[in-house]
Amino acid sequence: MIFRLAFASLLARSLTVGMTVLSIALSVALFLGVEKVRTGARASFADTISNTDLIVGARSGSVQLLLYSVFRIGNATNNVTWESYQDIAARPEVDWIVPISLGDSHRQFRVMGTTAEFFERYKFRGGRDLAFEDGRGLEDLYDAVVGADVAETLGYSVGDPIVVSHGLASFTEHADQPFRVAGVLEKTGTPVDRTVIVSLEAIEAIHVDWQSGGRIPGQSTPVDEIRQMELTPTAITAALVGTESRLQIFALQRWINEYPEEPLLAVLPGVALQELWAIVGVAETALIGVSAMVVVTALIGMMAMIFSSLNERRREMAIFRAMGAKPRTILGLLVLEAALMAAIGALAGMALLYAALAVGRPLIDAAFGLWLPLDPPSLRELQTLAAVIAVAVIVSLLPALRAYRLSLADGMMVRT
């Protein structure tokens, strides 16, 4: 019955109690939301590349190799020669191998040379395939496929001409050999969205008249002539490798890392991603800290609310006392009240978050390529809710102790 009375008392003060519960609900929704985005981002990050067993590049750090080959951040220190590439491709463990050649750019986006097989082999988010929003893959030498962000930012559609710039931030353009947008990819939430993909041969083709980073003066091979040329690259930047069996990954990795002709590095994408996340992950701790602070603020607001209600409720407490309630019962009543408010707030916050997720999930995916799973509450989330209620009980002890003292002093006679 005391529980029912505490509830009725809260209902009787529905406006202030409602505001307090709302602020707790919002803060809990924020906290759990940050938690969801954090785990979602982490999963999404880990899903940037999947079904690739090894990434091979010139010897450097594993994070650096991952950064330039998958995230297109920074540059390769060195290239992998075509001979080494072919040696690796000839290994019996290798099921498939896709070369990647980087170094040129189009506006603010990187240009990546690769083979048509890239579109079959590159998978993200647990095995999803790249899909074409419009157009088709690479067929002609001067075909280019652009990622969703590239198309959106630059307003490209199939058939538009593209001129590739030499290097990453230069004003020298390969204007003599324009490309044509052959296809636009669907949004993936991976760095592919921000990449212009051309064939490996095309990368060679636009550099026919170039030597060691500069244009050979006066030389300009006509496009027709280039089309007739043998456009085998001399070097590539990196390669994605799939093995016949997962058991062979480590053997192949060791073989590549010990390759005598050239210093190479092969990394497992999952391991490198984890190393990278350990660096990026510092920000998530800060986020969690901030949202935890918001929850604490809401609970302190509740404490202030209970404090300010004490005066108007002295009579109510005096009634309890007159009926034989001990001051400690009064204390218990206020703590129970706080726990009730926090529990309702926490549950409402959770409901709010799930409602928001259900509505906003497709939008978040479209805007940020971040797919947030709509799972039942995890143990960690339930623990969070329990912690919110526990903290509410602790902070409510302060006003409850004051009520205790007031009710000791007032007794059952309150002059009003």
Binding site: L5, A8, A12, M323, G324, M412
Partner: protein, 232 residues
């Protein structure tokens, strides 16, 4: 037991605070089942005396016995429990929980008193029966106290004091909010129920006209002397 419901002896109370108010009550008693009207104006030490009897205040000297227990010797927590067990209080302002239903208000003392709880077999039914006996219309038991009329609140307050048949009912000006006719009806009901429960009734009022219904009428000034410090 035909002993006394309440005995005060050599009582001295002093407020420690600034007022320097002192109250003495050399001797006063109420027999079991007896009804006594204490007549006195406000400011004559009424509230202080009632607080002492109810165990809210502890006397500096002297003793208070209620239902063969020396209340003045008990520790504060025990006094709270004792009050819940043996005293039903009716306030001038009724003091109902506004948000709780009439029935929940009546049941409240049972929550804090096992002895009174033990005397009632089916508390909700008993609460409704008491409310009905006190003339509260049927169906009002479930209504929140703040929606009841003054007269109805009055009856709920009486039912709350009576439930579980405590040895002593203490009433502080319970009729001041009622007009003359309602007052009469109300007192009839109160007396009936006190008799039925076998509870002694100690009522404090400034209104001598209701005195005829009581077994005994006592002027507060005859049993209590008060002093105020000159500063007041």
């Amino acid at each position: 037991m035909s002993g006394s419901a309440l005995t005060l002896a050599g009582l001295l109370h002093q407020y420690d605070g600034g007022g320097g108010f002192t109250l003495r009550c050399p001797e006063f008693s109420v027999a079991a089942g007896e009804s006594v009207l204490l007549l006195g104006e406000s400011g004559s030490g009424k509230s202080t005396l009632l607080s002492l009897i109810c165990g809210i205040l502890a006397p500096k000297e002297g003793r208070i016995d209620i239902a063969a227990t020396e209340l003045s010797k008990l520790r504060p927590a025990a006094r709270d429990a004792f009050r819940a067990e043996h005293i039903g209080v009716i306030f001038q302002q009724f003091n109902l929980l506004p948000y709780a239903s009439a029935q929940d208000n009546v049941l409240l003392p049972l929550h804090f008193s096992s002895a009174r709880r033990a005397r009632v077999t089916d508390p909700p039914a008993r609460a409704r029966a008491l409310l009905a006996a006190l003339g509260l219309p049927e169906g009002t038991a479930a209504v929140a106290a703040r929606h009841l009329s003054v007269g109805q609140q009055q009856r709920v307050a009486v039912a709350r004091a009576l439930i579980g048949a405590p040895e002593l009912i203490v009433a502080d000006e319970p009729t001041s909010a009622l007009d003359a006719t309602t007052q009469g009806t109300f007192l009839d009901l109160l007396f009936d129920q006190c008799r039925a429960a076998g509870s002694a009734l100690l009522m404090v009022s400034h209104d001598p006209r209701i005195g005829s219904r009581f077994d005994r009428v006592v002027e507060l000034a005859d049993i209590v002397t008060t002093e105020r410090a000159a500063a007041a």
